[in-house]
């Protein structure tokens, strides 16, 4: 041990431009900036930017699969447009039904990426470093929630844009077509915002309870699948048994009720898959309540978690 050992002192011998330690005199930003930094970093992490290639595989493949069908429809739009105009064919996918039909891919997206967002910091015990900085626990949880919501919103909006482009190009006059298409497409923004928030809050609230990524993922998948299947089964049994309350259970499903809420935004009638006793507004209320509930669960988790 020697204080004069240059290697030990962290200076390579022969370095001629060691300025020594300099203090930082610049600006120190507060909570909001810290939360924003975490949000940006987290969003990059979800899509695998700044991480190895293998980290990009899952989000891009899953989001790609979700958008794939809209792109196919776009590719063939010129071929089928004539028959649509003639009324002999209709679009398979519309802004309103896209999520209801393909939402399963986004469950996979959540299962793959939500544990990435909240389990890493618990597993590698990074949380104390955050909580001893300019950030509060609430800021941490909300920044993480915002980042997954944004990532989901992006994944949800890509096929919407593809459908929009396809519909606009189908018309002879693109500008005129845009004028008629835009009002039809716009409800996709609030509808998908709610969808993104709802799925993100459920995913993070549940994932944050385990530091192990695998357990989180399995738990999350189990939740989504069981909560879809069990109320639907009870409802169909209840229809025959004459249980009048069974239809309300459908409101607890994560994906079906989001489909119902989406219909509310587009103002289209519910299909026969939904119980006829409930209106689209009931699903909207259920989804908003679910966002509030799971956000509260997430905040509660981070208030209590030991660091």
């Amino acid at each position: 041990m020697s204080a004069t050992n240059p290697v030990a002192a962290g200076k390579p011998s022969g370095s001629i431009y060691d300025l020594g330690y300099r203090h930082y005199e610049g600006k120190r930003r507060g909570r909001l900036f810290a939360a924003w930094s975490l949000y940006v970093d987290s969003l990059r992490g979800i899509w695998g930017f700044g991480r190895p290639m293998s980290a990009k595989a899952a989000p891009f493949i899953i989001a790609g699969l979700y958008s794939f069908f809209a792109v196919i429809q776009l590719a063939f739009s010129s071929v089928i447009s004539q028959s649509i105009k003639n009324g002999t064919a209709t679009d398979i996918f519309t802004y309103g039904n896209y999520f209801s039909r393909l939402g399963f891919f986004l469950i996979l997206f959540c299962v793959a990426q939500a544990p990435e967002v909240v389990c890493r910091d618990q597993r590698y015990q990074v949380l104390p470093l955050y909580f001893t900085r300019a950030m509060r626990r609430v800021d941490y949880a909300l920044a993480r929630l915002a980042s997954l919501s944004t990532a989901l919103f992006v994944a949800l909006m890509v096929p919407m844009v593809a459908l929009f482009v396809g519909d606009v190009l189908m018309g002879a006059d693109a500008f005129a077509a845009m004028g008629t298409e835009l009002p039809r497409a716009l409800p996709a923004i609030p509808a998908n915002l709610l969808t993104a928030l709802s799925m993100a809050s459920i995913s993070l609230a549940l994932s944050s309870y385990s530091p192990r990524r695998a357990y989180s993922a399995i738990g999350l998948l189990a939740y989504f699948l069981l909560m879809e299947a069990v109320p639907a089964i009870i409802y169909s049994v209840g229809q025959q048994a004459g249980w009048t309350w069974a239809d309300k259970l459908v409101l607890t499903t994560p994906i079906t009720s989001l489909g119902g809420a989406t219909n509310w935004f587009f103002g289209i009638p519910l299909t026969s898959e939904f119980p006829s006793t409930l209106g689209a507004d009931a699903y909207l209320v259920a989804c908003v309540a679910s966002v509030c509930l799971f956000t509260a669960v997430l905040l509660f988790r981070y208030r209590r978690i030991s660091a």
Binding site: M1, S2, A3, N5, V7, A8, A9, G10, P12, G20, Y21, R22, H23, Y24, G26, K27, R28, R29, G30, R31, F33, A34, S37, L38, D41, G50, R51, P52, A55, R120, D121, Y124, Q125, V126, P128, L129, Y130, F131, T132, R133, A134, M135, R136, S306, A307
Partner: protein, 306 residues
Amino acid sequence: MALIETASLTKDYGAVKALDRLDLQVESGIIGLVGANGAGKSTLIKILLGLIPPTAGRASVLGLDVVEQAPEIRKFVGYMPEHDCLPPDVSATEFVTHMARISGLPRSAARERTAEVLRHVGLYEERYRQIGGYSTGMKQRVKLAQALAHDPKLLLLDEPTNGLDPTGRDEMLDLIKRTGTDFGISVVVASHLLGEIEQVCTFLLAIDAGHLLKAAPISTFTQRTPVVAVEVEEGADRLTAALISRGFKATQEEQCVLLALEDEALYDAVRDTVADLGLPLVRVQQERRRLEDIFREAPPVAGGVQ
């Protein structure tokens, strides 16, 4: 303004009292916080950071109350935890830059500071590699770098030499010493190894079972006479008696004879006595004073224990 001040600080974990009415007043410098495992070192550090609330009593850091002004304190405090705290799949540069930004530094400043502190802790080309592939020594450096990234006024280091080999340990201690002296940042180093603390600290706090045992400048500890241990395979009792009769202060501890090293003549006397008695000598060694010795000898300071 005192760097750290506590008044009757108490922390209860159910049945266990981690801190028991602790009164402290510490000025700037490199402060060693010694205590056996479970003495309450980490608990004290976590309370000072506002990570856990005290059960009773008050504490302040840089004149700011740890409960009411925790966010303000955190702007000027760097913390290096005892445990691993680094994600394996990012590079040291990315991680430290991220942490500097979370501390409130704008992007360009964060990058600049990161390059600078990583150079200071002695990470060069390897800083672009993923942390998962680092050695323990390099990880400890990254942990220190992230604590320094926002240029804190006070660094709280919890067992910074944990898991390091002797060379790595000396390098880490040297870094800590430079941080305290050259960088002008106050440092609190928690450790259960008194030897380490002695090398770098200017002030020493010894706690045991949540009580303050001793708080004093390090010089008051080093003034005490060192001890030489003479180990023999047999006849330790005869050796002790012979050395006492020669006028040395000797005590027997199993196969060892402990002697107060008052002058160098002691070594000659030991050699001659062992040779005269024909005893099988195992070792003659100047003992590193162990933590327990301080704990055994040091009377509790006034006001430390109620």
